[in-house]
Symmetry: C2
Subunit: 413 residues, 2 copies
């Protein structure tokens, strides 16, 4: 008997009517011979309502209790789906995070999965092929016995981790799009749905701004080699499309040099001008930021025009921009820089493809194409299978379209 984990997000379970539609997807897979575990999110809008109450209760709310409140959202969905499945004649029971149990770290609100014990669910499969309806996004801290949540989007991570624990043959992530595209179809109408994409590429795409899957869920899928489909919950349950398979590189026959173009608006740029060029200066800048839990992304250092000092440019998440400025201004004495310049109207555009490993000059072509369109590049970073450029936000669409066309990703239609 093959095993399958299916995951449905908030919009797919927004109403009881939609939950019934989800049940029809589950029924199809059970009848196809799979033992099925379904991971569900809270009904769309519910999490926001619960978070709103927490904030009303106290702007600086207790994180552990926040987890208790928001975890109730998935609990409701899992119970309702189990009711519908039982009513359709499919044995089913709900599993909360603490019942599975799915053990997480005690970082309330952004817990990391430590271990998933699939024994209870497997016993249900063995007994009567009982469908396990699992509340996503939540777990339990082993030592304290308290509820933890994985943070926004954590249901994807729950699903993939559960698939790994159950040694599932496949994990199907149902969402409101029908797969992974070469870029955001909302800004590039010629975006193409990918049939397959490698774990490594998907991880870069998720990290670089694609919102289809959570970074952490792709990491787990990659580490445990869980074949994962991204597909649409709004397809006809009797006749669904297949979506995009995230899989091993070796399983992808026709490889492109570039697989996708991602962009992220969640970047802010900081430049320190005329920094005293002495040993340890990088540490004096980035040490205090690291201590404040601010993630620094792109870093560029160039000699200043006076040839005696250096200019250092880097990016931080937009949400941390003000905090980073304040910290650096406080460190001005020890860092010794002439001025601090910042910009939030910037965007990071990235091209991802495992083909870059074996093809030289992929990025260089991009720089030329962007320059030809009059787009100024503020910063560049590259890694083995991707490169990113930081540009003015106003040029986002133009840059994404230019690269999409350049690398032959435009839909023929």
């Amino acid at each position: 008997m093959s095993r399958l984990v299916m995951k449905f997000g908030g919009t797919s379970v927004a109403t009881v009517e939609r939950i019934k539609n989800v049940a029809r997807h589950v029924k199809r897979e059970v009848e196809a011979g799979h033992d099925v575990a379904v991971v569900v999110s809270a009904m769309s809008g519910k999490t926001n309502e619960l978070v709103g109450w927490c904030k009303e209760a106290a702007p600086l709310y207790d994180q552990a209790e926040y987890d208790v409140v928001v975890a109730a959202g998935e609990q409701v969905t899992s119970g309702l789906l189990a009711i519908v499945l039982n009513d359709m004649g499919l044995p089913a029971r709900s599993w909360q995070g603490w019942q599975v149990p799915l053990f997480g770290s005690d970082a309330h609100g952004s817990s990391r999965i430590i271990d998933v014990d699939g024994a209870g669910i497997l016993a249900g499969f063995a007994a009567d092929r009982s469908v396990a309806v699992v509340s996503g996004f939540q777990g339990i801290h082993k030592e304290s016995g308290r509820i933890v949540t994985l943070g926004r989007g954590g249901s994807d991570t729950s699903a993939v981790a559960l698939a790994a624990a159950l040694k599932a043959d496949r994990c199907d992530i149902y969402t409101d799009v029908d797969g992974v595209y070469t870029t955001d179809p909302r800004i590039v109408s010629k975006a193409t749905r990918l049939d397959r994409v490698s774990f490594e590429e998907m991880l870069e795409m998720a990290s670089l701004g694609s919102k289809v899957l959570q970074v952490r869920s792709v990491e787990i899928a990659m580490v445990h080699r869980v074949p994962t489909y991204v597909r649409s919950s709004f397809d006809d349950p009797e006749n669904p499309r297949q979506g995009t398979l995230i899989c091993d590189e070796e399983d992808i026959v026709e490889q492109q040099i570039v697989t996708g173009i991602a962009y992220s608006k969640d970047e802010a740029q900081i430049t320190l001008r005329r920094v005293a060029d002495k040993p340890g200066v990088a540490a004096s800048i980035f040490g205090p930021l690291a201590e404040a839990n601010i993630n620094v992304d792109m870093i560029i250092q160039v000699v200043s025009d006076d040839q005696a000092t250096t200019d250092i440019t880097f990016t931080v998440p937009t949400a941390d921009f003000d905090r980073a400025r304040t910290i650096l201004e406080g460190q001005r004495g020890s860092i010794q820089y002439q001025s601090l310049q910042g910009a939030t109207d910037v965007v990071k555009v990235s091209a991802i493809g495992i083909g870059m490993r074996s093809h030289a000059g992929v990025a260089a072509r991009a720089f030329r194409a962007l320059a030809d369109k009059g787009i100024n590049i503020r910063a560049i970073t590259t890694s083995e299978i991707k490169f990113s450029v930081l540009i003015d936000a106003a040029y986002t669409e133009l840059a994404v379209r230019t690269l999409h066309t350049l690398y032959g990703l435009d839909n023929a239609a």
Copy 2:
């Protein structure tokens, strides 16, 4: 250090603003030197929303999954109250039924409490006087590890059972009225708030129609001798009234003969005319009803006017009236009766008082007074500390007022 359990119902926690008011009541008691556990219901209206979704999911929903869905309501309230308390500087944490743990039977939807383990909560008291915010109405079935609920009104029962487990000095039930009245103040304006009422009287009042407390909660309070206050959550948290104390008979100094008048509209009358008067006839009537889980209350048997057969009258809950009729009509051959008459427009009015034990003729005075007002009595039952009469529903108010005045319960004001 004295221990106190406080319980707040759905209307008292209907909004975050009201939850903050509840927190002020808790703060007062903590500052008065009590270690406090607070039992909370779901926000008013939330349980109905959740039950509505279950019914929409499947009219004959799985009871175990229903429990999962509705238990989410209390989980939200407990987390929110813990957030508010922590924000006010009072250490607090929430406890779900499975965390306490409160063990219940596996009768999903109407589980009975088997055991409450207060060790975790007591450890919190010992560590930092942490307020335990406990989700009412819910528990866990020890063997299956699944969530159970105690049925409507179960939060009162949770509170009293927790008070017994913690060996609390007192259990305060906060509600939307300021205590227990001699009768329903909505129909008798001269109803008086009682300062004290005995466990036995309160048990009869709850059984006979008073909605202030759940029967099961009074039973547990009586068995474990938990002094229990009924008081108002809408009082000024800094200066609340005391409410009504439910306590041992011996602790009541000024005893009335009759303490309260209750009424219940949830009664339907069935009369079987000219039943063959032979041995075992009662068993042939009430056996099948018992098997169908129908509670029979008042039973009267009188010889028919033909002197050869007997008429049997009894009451059943209104909800079971049609089912009872169908069963009895099916048994007509074995019971041998001439006709079956039924009435649902009847009401049971009861007078309760431990003073009846030592005073003869208490009920007789009532029968005369009711007759004087032209109220026809359809049936009578008596026990050691109460008597009940079944009358036409149209006379409810008149009968309650008449008895209230007769036994000197009218407010002097």
